[in-house]
């Protein structure tokens, strides 16, 4: 669960108010699209959830962690409950697909036997079993994003944050990525997807959170074109 209570963020360096008194609750198992123009505060929202930055005011709760009180040494514990998918994939170029995915489990000290069974399974879920030994540079954008998804998924996180996951891939493949995310969500994982692509949002529908100038000006569930057809 993610909960923002009267959260404001002001960047000291620029004095810009990135978020103003935001109140937001995303329950376990939700799938929410976060939309809004550039500079609206979407990235700030994600940075807060990952405790990359701290709120200037208010309280942020993520998966049971009160981020205001969370010490730096405990941040890895928070991040292990979250899977992150970035627009630029952020795969480690010197590691193969298998190693990129397995790395997350090594970080949490998972037993070697579990890693050997879990990683191929997750790679198969995103349809890349035949590319497990490839390096990221040998894959297409869509494939790289699927590896990033597998990495986000492998330690069975409570929440997956997808920050513009379709921004760097072919529009046709964007639907495939969101389908994958929807599938993951159906298994109970909360998904928070930041996107610019209104067509995708209109197609899939669901909970839409629109951020504009640091405030939430729309938070509703809409029906998607997918469901109408």
């Amino acid at each position: 669960m993610v909960e923002f209570k009267d959260v404001s963020v002001t960047y000291n360096s620029s004095g810009v108010d990135a978020l103003n008194k935001i109140n937001l609750k995303i329950n376990d198992g939700d799938f929410a699209f976060v939309v809004g123009p550039s500079g609206a505060g979407k990235s700030t929202l994600i940075k807060l959830v990952l405790k990359e930055i701290d709120a200037t005011e208010g309280t942020v709760m993520v998966n049971g962690f009160n981020l205001k009180k969370l010490r730096r040494s405990k941040v890895p514990a928070l991040r292990r409950t979250i899977g992150v998918v970035f627009q630029d994939f952020r795969l480690i170029p010197t590691m193969t697909v298998y190693e990129n995915v397995a790395f997350v489990l090594r970080v949490i000290d998972a037993p070697a036997k579990y890693i050997r069974s879990r990683v191929p399974y997750v790679i198969s879920l995103v349809g890349l079993s035949d590319k497990a030994k490839c390096y990221p540079t040998e894959l297409s954008g869509g494939e790289q994003q699927r590896v990033a998804l597998a990495r986000a998924l492998v330690n069975d996180p409570q929440l997956i944050i997808a920050d513009e996951p379709t921004g760097n891939i072919d529009p046709a493949l964007s639907y495939e990525i969101v389908e994958l995310l929807k599938g993951i969500n159906e298994c109970g994982t909360t998904i928070l997807m930041v996107t610019h692509e209104h067509d995708l949002v209109r197609y899939f529908g669901g909970r839409i959170i629109n951020i504009n100038k640091g405030s939430i000006d729309f938070d509703e569930v809409i029906g998607g074109a997918q469901n109408e057809s």
Binding site: P76, A77, I82, V107, D109
Partner: protein, 301 residues
């Protein structure tokens, strides 16, 4: 942390060397050159200190014994001299030895002139070496108060010059070595920083998936340590090669050291253990710690 995870991280450190071979090679070269510079400067300082020390050890106080002193009196004087704390060694140089020595150093014409001398005009002497050349003047003053001492001759001015040379040299040597250490650390720090900077994205990703700082640092630490150790071995071999080259020139081709009353340079085999330990320790510590410190900057995500 489980043993398997630790093993994995150490393995990552080793494989990181090959995966980042260009930056690893740059770090290796910089470390090698730095160790070589500091090592050769230190060895030069150690040897010059020894050479100066050798000259100091050869500085003697000549004690001229009164003509009327009999053998018993001479023995008593020797006993008194031995009781002086700063006296290191005492050698008797009889008037006959002095006479023979003088004649040996003369040309045949000069010898002819002295052939008809009625008696040996030279005195018996004790020749003393001192433990601390700084106190040579003080020691000479004490000797002059003893019975049966006619007079003394001591190179106190020369001793003062040597003391000054040694003091200035020590300061210069420490300053040069310290400056080289600082310069080396700055260069090494910049190189490791560049090496880590090239992998900042990797570190960033590790942080996002919940890696602890220790988990991220260990492979970099291992990698830095290995590079440092290999550079140390390389520097040690080059130092041996360079040192023995210089040593052979001074020791084999010219015997100037003994002519000047100086001690020889240290043979490399005498210095092998301390030099090896210093190089390996410095290489490992600088490599590992330098890389870890540089990594720290990118951990604040």
């Amino acid at each position: 942390m489980k043993a398997s995870s630790f093993k994995y991280l150490v393995h990552q450190g080793f494989s990181g060397i090959w995966k980042n071979r260009m930056m690893t090679f740059a770090s290796f070269c910089i470390l090698l050159v730095s160790l070589l510079m500091v090592g050769l400067a230190s060895l030069t300082a150690i040897n010059l200190t020894r050479v100066i020390g050798g000259i100091e050890d050869k500085s003697e106080v000549v004690v001229i014994i009164s003509d009327d002193a009999d053998d018993k009196a001479k023995d008593e004087l020797k006993t008194h001299l031995e009781e002086i704390p700063n006296v290191n060694s005492i050698t008797m140089y009889s008037k006959e030895e002095a006479w023979d020595g003088m004649l040996d150093s003369m040309t045949d014409e000069e010898k002819e002139f002295f052939k008809y001398a009625d008696e040996n005009p030279l005195p018996d002497t004790y020749r003393l070496t001192v433990k601390d050349i700084k106190n040579m003047g003080e020691t000479t003053a004490i000797i002059e108060t003893l019975d049966n001492v006619e007079s003394t001759q001591s190179p106190t001015t020369f001793a003062d010059i040597l003391i000054n040379i040694r003091r200035i040299f020590s300061i210069v040597a420490v300053a040069v070595v310290a400056a080289l250490v600082v310069v080396s650390l700055i260069i090494i720090s910049n190189t490791t920083r560049a090496s880590v900077f090239a992998r900042r994205k990797e570190i960033n990703i590790m942080k996002y998936v919940g890696a602890t700082n220790a988990f991220i640092r260990i492979p970099f630490f291992v990698e830095g340590m290995i590079v440092g150790l290999v550079a140390a071995v390389g520097a040690l071999l080059l130092t041996k090669f360079a040192y023995e080259g210089v040593y052979n020139i001074f020791s084999d081709n010219f015997n100037i050291w003994s002519i000047l009353g100086m001690q020889k340079l240290y043979a490399f085999k005498d210095l092998l253990f301390p030099v090896s330990v210093s190089y390996l320790a410095a290489g490992a510590v600088i490599g590992a710690v330098g890389t870890s410190i540089s990594t720290g900057k990118h951990l604040k995500v």
